[in-house]
Symmetry: C2
Subunit: 292 residues, 2 copies
């Protein structure tokens, strides 16, 4: 149970955690902070937070749990402001999509990695953003990855884990580096491909017509290209190295496929497509298959 | 109104057309042909066709409309068999995803491009295949592209157009070459990316774990990688040149994006992501947006 939760960045991610914990009866008061007062007022009007302060240092006062859900590029600045204002027993966690950069930015802002900070990443979200899009069920059945460091206090890890479980999520722990590799492969690379594909097609002269003939699968395939550009710019900067590694790996595989098309190599094409179908079908859960 | 429709290749595409025309009361008798008798018997049992013949030459006898819905690689062989057995006024059309190769194969099989053949392509389908997956609504509101040639009889074009409209589709005409370019961009390239991505990830040593952490968007993004490998092998061979052109165009754009990530170029990344989001949002219809 959290007595006072402070959420810095009350958008889809922060707002949905607030709603989920409220619904679960797991939280007393919820205080919000953001740069823009009208967003915070909207969050109050929607019943997502109880009150707000645009100054994050004042917002965290007396909170036993702080969730930082700002774009990766703003993490350092927020930590600079709140580190000295936290209650003695306060635990802080975040929702950033890359973890090495968060650790780097915190160390730069605070001087060293504090034992009260638990780096975290809920693997959930939609292409929507903003508090109006938030909903209590966003984390239900979803995974949250925590990447605690050696110095992270065990009780801080437990509290963050319990919070996410109260929101309905399944919590796993792994190293910062491994998290960044896994996410580069399963999320950051696919987003790059979707952005680049839509960009490619949009620059064809017949773009209007091109999109008119796009079949059903195309809409699914490119949905992730509607994601927030600022968030993705920050992710590219933050997880640069792991993303470049995955881009190069993909490039090698796409080149092999291109070469097979070029030489009309039916056997290789059939092998690649069959393996991909098999791998995809194996990982999609029965529930998702029904949805398919 | 079609008196006797012959469908060669009674799977998802052929079976769904049969169901749609039957539902619309637009067809008298439906005769099916396929290589495998058990599939044809299944189609009869499901009420999709009235009777069948595994010999396509016998199956087309007396039919006023013939729909060839076989993999692209089988088109030439089918045409060789049926060309001499058609009724004098019969019209033939197909459902192949690439059109230059269909024209090429017909000319090779028959000696010249007959005036009774209307190359066509319904832009519809799912990742399912087989007659059991067929349904009457598959073409409702979907586009069908016809690519008639100079010698194609106008009344043949009208009959094929009317058939697709009876099945609920919107029919457009364009040149063979333009069709193949548009489809390479909107369908064949995205499929290559999805296949290559899943293949790339499947070969990572931690593949089981990798897929476990894949978020919601990943499932949508890779759905098309579950498509029929044989069909896609044939499409790659059939639409090789247009596909290679699009692969190279995409490669250039992905390289530009990679270079921006590599040098930490925030401005370029933000521009690319913003343009892609805008283009994607502009082409997705309001109906699909609600579904999103």
């Amino acid at each position: 149970m959290i007595k006072r939760l402070c959420i810095i960045g009350v958008g889809l991610i922060g707002g949905s955690l607030a709603r989920a914990l409220r619904e679960a009866g797991y939280v007393g008061e919820i205080v919000g902070s953001s740069r823009r007062e009208e967003h915070l007022q909207e969050a109050v009007d929607l019943g997502v937070i109880d009150r707000f302060d645009t100054d994050p240092a004042r917002a965290v006062e007396g909170a036993d749990m702080v969730f930082v859900a700002v774009p990766l590029g703003a993490m350092g600045k927020v930590m600079e402001k709140i580190a000295g204002a936290l209650a003695p027993a306060a635990v802080v966690t975040d929702g950033g999509s890359a973890k090495a950069s968060v650790v780097r930015d915190i160390v730069a802002a605070v001087g060293s990695m504090p034992d009260w900070f638990v780096p975290g990443h809920p693997i959930a979200g939609t292409e929507q953003s903003g508090v109006a899009a938030s909903f209590a069920g966003l984390y239900r059945g979803r995974r949250v990855i925590l990447t605690p460091l050696e110095q992270t206090r065990p009780d801080a890890i437990s509290k963050v884990r319990a919070m996410w479980e109260a929101a309905g999520a399944k919590v796993n722990e792994m190293s910062v580096e491994h998290h960044d590799e896994v996410l580069a492969a399963t999320s950051h690379l696919p987003h790059m491909l979707a952005f680049a594909l839509v960009e490619s097609l949009a620059r064809l002269s017949e773009q209007r017509e091109i999109f008119e003939y796009a079949a059903g699968g195309f809409s699914d395939f490119t949905r992730i290209a509607s994601s927030d550009p600022v968030m993705w710019r920050d992710i590219c900067i933050a997880n640069r190295e792991a993303l470049l590694t995955m881009l190069d790996r993909f490039h090698t595989d796409l080149e092999a496929l291109r070469a097979a098309v070029d030489r009309g190599d039916e056997e290789t094409l059939l092998r690649i497509f069959s393996e991909a179908r098999q791998a995809r079908d194996a990982f999609v859960s029965p529930v998702e298959k029904v949805k398919d």
